[in-house]
Symmetry: C2
Subunit: 154 residues, 2 copies
């Protein structure tokens, strides 16, 4: 379900997804609304689930996880049992930041946070010990040009 947002709602969303540490006063000033009107809209956006939550973003390098890998996975078992087993296997692997079932000839893509290449091998061993995968390959991030959680709000 999609909602209809006016320019105030959009401005609030755009601002909060860049910086959720703003006080209501600051936020209301930036979006050109009174504090009360702004507060009412923020609460409504939170209650309706448009704002899924607020989180702290952590510098992965500073906590010893500088390496990002994209792991491309193919399976030869295209049934829901395999998918469920796969999901269960992933839930025990905190390094996995995202896991998507895809269109096209690659079946799944994972984004994985790691300490180093040796850490990838440990991750790989743990994953393949949990579930049978017909084809798996990894590619590592050398450089981030862009990396944001922001959703485009047009």
């Amino acid at each position: 379900m999609t909602y209809e947002f006016d320019d105030f709602d959009k401005a609030i969303l755009r601002t909060l997804q860049k910086d959720a540490s703003l006080s209501m006063d600051d936020l209301s000033e930036r979006v050109h609304l009174s504090r009360n009107a702004c507060w009412r809209r923020v609460k409504q956006l939170e209650q309706s689930g448009v704002v899924r939550g607020r989180v702290a973003l952590i510098d992965a390098r500073k906590v010893g996880m500088p390496l990002t890998a994209f792991v491309l996975i193919r399976t030869d078992q295209h049934d829901s049992a395999w998918n469920q087993n796969f999901q269960k296997a992933l839930s025990g692997l905190p390094e996995v930041q995202s896991a998507h079932r895809m269109t096209g000839d690659l079946d799944y893509v994972l984004r994985v946070r790691l300490a180093d290449i040796a850490d990838y091998d440990r991750f790989y061993q743990r994953l393949v010990s949990k579930i049978s995968i017909s084809d798996i390959s990894a590619s590592f991030v050398m450089d981030d040009l862009i990396d944001t959680t922001e959703v485009p709000i047009l």
Copy 2:
């Protein structure tokens, strides 16, 4: 640079990257620290940049951007001028949530947020009008098994 964290710091980071809307009182209770000690650590983690910031996460479906695409890009111009032009081209495309230069035979991976497949075509046209790309292909997300901003803190 990597820091040394004790179990309290780790608990704070793990908690805040799940939910940054907690009050200091709630946070300190969860990590089993006094309010004061907890407050000092949070401030220090913010000041040192381990906590990069706090953001609101927005439900992309509810703002009309339900489709995620991974765009795989190859270039035949492996020089820094192309990389800079590419970065400049991307900065004008708010749909791009992340863009990484990769190891291996695919040169760049983009994660792009879109309204629908027709929107991808518009995105594609705008991108190739800005920069020459020797090979580009897209794969679309059918299903998210996992999608989090959390960094594993071990």
